[in-house]
Symmetry: D2
Subunit: 423 residues, 4 copies
C-alpha cells in the first residue's frame, strides 16, 4: 500500500504551490513552519478496537459491508488508517469485546503494521454470557460486594491482557448510576466506587496509569456516580498519584466550557487522557470537528499551552478517537476525524502566545479575539498534508482510500454481512 | 383476578377514612368530589405493545424474566394492567414488531379482556429482514423515490391492520434526518416528507386521524426533519383536517415550556395525541412523574382547560405511555406511570379556575401561584384510589401485583429468557 | 404585630382538624410528628439585605411602592417577615450596598426584632463611585495586582463590618471571568483567584468561615473563573479548613443533578452554605419551589441525610434565599419561598430512611420510588402551619400580611417612589 | 476620513499577493471570484441605534469613554463604521430611546453619511416616565385593554416616525410573558397578542412589512408569549401577507438547530429578517462569530441557498446586528461582527452547490462533509478585504480605526462620562 500511496502523492504540484505560499505568509509572521509540520507528523491518536465496525443507536444499526469480525481484522483496518494518515499508530483495546487469543501473536501483528497498544478499556456496563453477577444495578459502585469483586477482577484481567501487549494504562468508564430518584444512595455508591478503584489501582504494574472517565448521563438517566470532572478529579486524588481524569468531549452538559476544564486539570497535574468526537446534543459520538470546530481549536489551545507549561507534571496525554460510525464507512469517518484533529492542532499552534499574553495583560479584548481568529481563519491544510507526506502517508487520505478501492476489497474478502463486536 | 382484587380491596378502612377526610376538606372549598372521582375512573391511557418487555440503551439491555414473546402474551399483560388499575383499556400496536396473524382472533382476545386498539404505529426507522430498500438515510424524506414508496406502502399496511382491529388513527414517528451538516438538504427532505404524508393520508379511511410526532434529535444527531411542534403543525396543516400534532413529553430541547406548546396546539385545533413519560436529560423514557411531577401537573392543567374550552374542535385526545423499562418490571413501571398520571390529573382538576381567572385579571401573581400550589399540594391519593375501587380495580395496584405474585407466575409460564420484540 | 397575628391564628378550627387527621395518618406509619414540627419551627433561613426591594433584569425594573431605602428600613422589613413566618431570624448583609453607619445601633435594631446577622457578602462585580480601579476585567482574578489588592481590601472591610455585627462568615461570589475566547488566560486567572482568596482567608477571625460560590455564566458569557462546584471545591481545599463551597440552586448548567453535588460536598466535609431560589432557564432567581418543587425535595433529602450522617464534619449550613422580586411584592415573595422551603423540608423529613435503605440494598427500584413519592405526595401543610403557630408566627403568613395591609402601610410611610439599593 | 482610509489601504502588497494566490486556487475549482467579491461588497447590515454605547447586564454596566449621547452622535458613529467597513449602510432606530426631534434633518444627516433607515423597533418592555399604564405585566398581550391600546398606539407612532425617515418595516419584539406558572393564561395572552398585532398591521403603510421576533425566555422566566419560531410563524400567518418571522440567533433553547428553522421559514415564504450575534449560554449578545463560527457558516448556507431558490417569494431579508457591547469598544465590536459576517458569507458562497446536491442524492455523507469543510476551511480573508477596498472602505477596519485614533477623538469631544440610551 505504501507504494501506491507514494504514487498518488507524486502528482502534487498544487500542494507544493499552496504550501509554498502558506509558508511565505507564515514566515512573515515569524512562524517556524517546519516545527509545526514536525509537530503534526509526530502527533498520534489511538483508534479503539470497537471503532472499525458500524455503530448504532437504541433504535437500530445499519450494517456496512466488510466489517472486521475479529481482532486480527480490526488491527488490520487500523493499519490501513495508519498507512493512509500517519496519525494512528496505536490501538486501544476493549475487553471483553476483543480479547486476544494469543497476545504475543497479536502484538507481533500490530508491530508488523507499525502499531502499538494504547490504554486498555474495561467493560462493566454490559453483562457477558455466563457471567455470575449482573451489572444491571452497577459494577464498581454496586451495593453488593460480590458484584464489585467481580468487576474489580475483570479490571484486573484487563490490566493483565494490556500488560502482555505493552499497554501502560487502563481507562475506566463506568455506566454506574441510577435512573430514578431514590434508587441509589449517592454517598454509598460513590464510596464503593472509590474503594473499588483503589483495589484496581493496586493491581496495576508500577509504571501504569489509570484514567477515570466521567459522564453526566446515559445509560443511566437520573444520576451517574462519576457525573463530572470534579467527581473524577476527587476520585483520582483519592486513588493515587498515577490516577488521572480522562476528558471525553461528548460527556458534558449543554453549554459546558470544556476548555476551561482542560486548563484546570492540567494546572492541577491531573489530566491523563482525551477522547475525541463531536456532538450537538449529547454523547452523539459524531466525527471530530463536524459540529463545533472552533471549540476543538480552543481546546487544543489549552492542551498545547498547558503541556508547554506543564509545571504540575502531567503525563504525556493519551489521545483516542471515541466516535460511533452509524452512517459513514468507519475507516473514512476515522480519517475525517484524524484530519480534523490535525487541522485544529495546526491552527492552535499558530496562535501567537506572546502577543496574546501582552493583549491579555493590556485587557485588550478586541486584540485577543483578533489573535485567536487570525490563527483560526488561516487555511492550514497545506501544513497538515505536508505532515502526512513527510512520513509517507497520503496527501489526501480519503481520496487515496477511495482510489485504491479499499472498502470494496474488504467486502470482497469479508462479505456484506460480517459484523464487528462493539456497540 | 377480579375476585382476588376485590378481596384485597376489602381491607380498606384507612382508605375510607382518608377519603372521608379529604372529601370534607374539598367540599369546604366547593369541589365536587364525586365528579372528580368519576373523571378519574373514566380516564384511560393506551399501553403500547412494545412496552411489556425490558427496554434497553445502545449500551445494552438487561432482561427481566417472563417477558411476553408474542402479541398474544403482550395483550395478556395489558389485560393484567387494566384489571389492576382500571386505567389502561387500550393497546397501541407497533408494526412490524407485532403483526397479528389472525386479526379477528386478536381483536376477540382483546375484547375478552376489555381492551380496544388505539392508534397504530408504523416503523420506518429500522430495516426488517428481506426489505428491498434500507431506511439508513431516511424513509418518508428519502431522496430516493423507491424508498419513499416502500415507506408509504408500509404505512398503508399498518392502516389496514389497524382497521381490521378497530383502530381509528395512525401515529407517524419519523427518525428521518441527518447526522452531519451537509448530509441532507433541509428543504427537499421536508418537501418529500410532506408529499409522503399526503399520500398516506389518502390511504386512511374517512373516520381515521393521523398523528404526526416531532423530536429534536436521536437517532439522528444533527437534524431531524420534524424537529419541533412548529414543523409538525405546519405539516399537519398541509396534510389535512384529520392530521394532528402529537406531543411526546421527552421530545423537547432542554428547558422547553411544553405546557405552552400544548395550549397553543389546542387553541389551534391541532392537538391529536399525547405520549407520557418523564426525563431529566433527553428522551430518557422514564416512568411518568418520576422526575418532574410539577411540570406534568401544569401540562394537565392546560389539557383540561383546553379541552373544556375546546372552541377549535380538537378531537378527543389519544393518550399513551411511551416509556422504556430498563431497570424495572415493565408491568410495575407502567402502573407507577398510570398512577402518576391520575395523581397529576386529579390535582389539576382541583385548580379553582374561576378564582384563577380573577387573580390573573387582577395581575395578582402571588395569588395565582397560591391557587396552583393549593391544588398541587393537596394529597389526592384517596381520590385516585377510590376511582379505581369504583371500577373494580385495585386500591393499590403495585401491592396487589406483588401480593398475587404475578411476575413469578409469568416467569413460571414463560421462563427467564423469553424476549419481547421492541427496542 | 405579634398580637394581631395571634388574633388571626385564633380562628383555626380547620387547621386543628387537618393537623389531627394528618397526625393520625403519620403515626400509623411510625412518624414522630412532634419532632418534625419542632424541626420546622427551628429551621431558619437568612434574608439578604438586597431582597427587600424590586429586582430587575437588564431590560428594566418595575418599582413596587414602599420599598425600603436604607438599611434600617430593610431590617425592619425582615422583622416583618420573621414575625409572620418565624423562619427568617437572620439578615445577610451586602456591602457596599448596605454599610451600617453605626454598627452597634444596627445590631441593636436587629436584636430588638429578634434578628441576627448571617454571612456577609462582598461585591466586586460592580464599580462604586470614586473607586480607584475598575472591576470591568475581574477583581480577585485580575491580571493587575492593584485591582486584586483593592478587591482583597474590600473583602477585608466586609469582614470587619460583619465582625462588628456578629456575623461569622463571608460569602464570596465572583463575577470574574471573560466573555470572549482568548480574553483571559484560564490558568493565570484561576491562580490569581486562589492567591487572593488565601489573603482574604488570612484576614478572617479564627472562628469565621469563608463560603466560595460558583456559577457557570452571567455576567460573563464565555468563561467564569469559578464555573462549577469542582473548581470551588478545589479552591476551598487550597484555601483552608474553614473555606467551603456554597451552592446556589440557580448556578448550574441545564439538567445538572444538583442533589448529587450536594451529597458529594457533604461527603467531603466541604459544604458550607446554600442559596435558595428556583429557575427554569438560567439564574432566573424565581421564588423557591415555584418551578421544580420535586428537585427541591430531593435536595432536602440529601441535606437532611447528609447532615444526619455528618462523618466529615461539615459546619452547620448557612441557608439564605437568593431570589429577585421582579413582579411580586418582595415580602410576599420571600414568604412564599420560606413556605416552600418548609414544605420541601417537611416532606423530606417524612422519607422512611430505614425502609429506603432496605429497598436500595434489595435493588428494588420500584419500591425506592414508592417510598420517596409516598413522602412527597403527603400534604404536609398542617405540619408547616403548626410549626409557625408554635412560635407565635402566622398560620397563613400571606393572608395575615394582606389582612394587616402591611404593604399599604409601608407605601403610606415611604411613598411610591422609594428605591432599594441592589440589583 | 475616506482619504485617510485610502492612504492606509495603499500599503497593501501582501493583500494583493494573498488575493492573487487565493484567486488562482479558487479558479481551479471553478469559482467566479469577482462575483463573490461583488456579492460581499453589496452585502449590507443595519446597525441599531442602541448599539453605539456600552451595554450592560443586570449586575451592572461599565462605561467606555466617548459614548454618543444623542441620536445625531449615534448616526455619526454608524457613519464611521460604514466608512471603515463599507458594510453598514443603514441604521435601525429604537423608539423611544432615539426619537428624532426633526425627522427630515435626521434623514438628511444620515443621507450625507450614505446611510438609510432600516426597520424601526418599538419598545413595550420598559416603562417610560409619565406613561399612563405600566408594561410590568405585558403589553400587546395584557389582560387590560387600556394597556394593549397604549402599546398599539406606541407601535403606530413608531411606524409614523419610521415612515418619515424612509423605513419600510417595523420589528416587534415582545418581552410579554410570565415568570410563574399560573400567572398568565397562555391562550388568552396569545389571543390578545394576535389581535394587537392585527391592529398594528392595519396602521402600516401598504408597502411596509412587519417582523415578528420570538424568544424563549428573558426577561420573563417561565413563559414567553412568542416563545419560538412556530408561534411567530403562526402569528405571521394570521396577521397578514406582509407579516414575517424574524430570527435572532441568540433567541433559542440550548442545542437548537437554527439553520433548519431558517430553511423552513424561507421554504414557507415567511422569513423577514435576521438579527446577528453570538452566544454560548443564552441571549448573550456577543460579537458575531466569536463563539460558534461554523454554525454561522451553516446558517449562511441556508440563507444563500434559500434566497437563490426563493420559490415562496420571501422579501429581501432585513439584516441587523443585535449585540451588546459590555467589554469592548462598541465600534470595534461592531466591526468585528461585520467582518465575521462577511467571512461566513464568503465561505458559504464557496460551497459547491452542484457537487453537494450530487453527493446528497448519492447519500455519500463523507463527501457531503468534505464539500462543506472544503469551503469552510478556505481562508477567505483576501476576498473580504478586497470587497471592502473595492468600495473605498478599509482593508483592515480595526487597524484603521486604531491608527486614526478615532475613539480618542470621540472621548476628546464627548468626554469620559457621556452615556448612550439603551440597555
Amino acid at each position: 500500500m505504501k507504494e501506491k500511496i507514494q504514487e498518488l502523492n507524486a502528482r502534487n504540484e498544487r500542494h507544493v504551490h499552496q504550501l509554498s505560499h502558506l509558508g511565505e505568509e507564515l514566515e512573515v509572521k515569524g512562524v517556524n513552519v517546519d516545527r509545526i509540520i514536525k509537530d503534526l507528523s509526530d502527533f498520534q491518536v489511538a483508534v479503539p478496537s470497537w471503532a472499525l465496525g458500524a455503530g448504532g443507536t437504541r433504535f437500530g444499526r445499519f450494517r456496512i459491508g466488510g466489517e472486521p469480525s475479529n481482532l486480527e481484522e480490526k488491527i488490520h483496518d487500523v493499519g490501513i488508517i495508519n498507512d493512509l494518515t500517519g496519525t494512528a499508530d496505536a490501538i486501544s483495546l476493549h475487553i471483553p469485546w476483543d480479547i486476544p487469543d494469543d497476545p504475543s501473536a497479536t502484538k507481533q501483528q500490530a508491530e508488523s503494521l507499525g502499531l502499538k497498544f494504547d490504554a486498555v478499556n474495561s467493560n462493566t456496563f454490559q453483562d457477558q454470557p455466563n457471567q455470575a453477577h449482573s451489572y444491571k444495578f452497577g459494577s464498581l459502585c454496586n451495593e453488593n460486594k460480590s458484584v464489585r469483586d467481580q468487576a474489580i477482577e475483570h479490571n484486573s484481567e484487563v490490566i493483565d491482557i494490556g500488560n502482555a501487549l505493552g499497554s501502560k494504562a487502563i481507562t475506566v468508564w463506568l455506566a454506574d448510576g441510577s435512573s430514578f430518584p431514590g434508587q441509589a444512595n449517592f454517598r454509598r455508591t460513590l464510596g464503593h466506587t472509590a474503594d473499588s478503584l483503589a483495589q484496581i489501582y493496586q493491581r496495576m504494574p508500577d509504571d501504569w496509569s489509570m484514567f477515570i472517565e466521567y459522564k453526566p448521563y446515559e445509560p443511566n438517566f437520573y444520576h451517574t456516580v462519576i457525573q463530572d470532572w470534579g467527581t473524577s478529579f476527587l476520585l483520582a486524588n483519592e486513588t493515587g498519584d498515577r490516577a488521572y481524569t480522562l476528558v471525553d468531549l461528548g460527556h458534558h452538559l449543554p453549554n459546558t466550557n470544556i476548555e476551561n476544564i482542560v486548563s484546570t486539570l492540567i494546572y492541577q497535574g491531573k489530566l491523563g487522557g482525551f477522547h475525541f468526537n463531536d456532538s450537538k446534543y449529547g454523547d452523539d459520538d459524531l466525527t471530530v470537528g463536524s459540529i463545533k470546530p472552533y471549540q476543538l481549536f480552543l481546546i487544543f489551545n489549552e492542551l498545547i499551552y498547558g503541556m508547554n507549561n506543564n509545571v504540575a507534571d502531567n503525563p504525556a496525554l493519551a489521545w483516542m478517537i471515541d466516535a460511533s460510525h452509524n452512517l459513514k464507512d468507519p475507516i473514512e469517518d476515522l480519517m475525517q476525524s484524524l484530519d480534523a484533529i490535525l487541522v485544529a492542532r495546526a491552527k492552535a499552534l499558530l496562535i501567537d502566545q506572546e502577543k496574546l499574553k501582552v493583549a491579555q495583560l493590556n485587557q485588550d479584548v478586541v486584540e485577543c479575539q483578533q489573535i485567536l481568529q487570525d490563527a483560526y481563519r488561516t487555511d492550514v491544510r497545506p501544513l497538515v498534508a505536508e505532515s502526512r507526506i513527510k512520513v509517507g502517508a497520503a496527501l489526501d487520505p480519503i481520496h487515496a482510500y477511495r482510489s485504491l478501492e479499499i472498502r470494496n476489497n474488504l467486502i470482497a474478502k469479508r462479505g456484506m454481512d460480517s459484523s464487528a463486536s462493539g456497540l
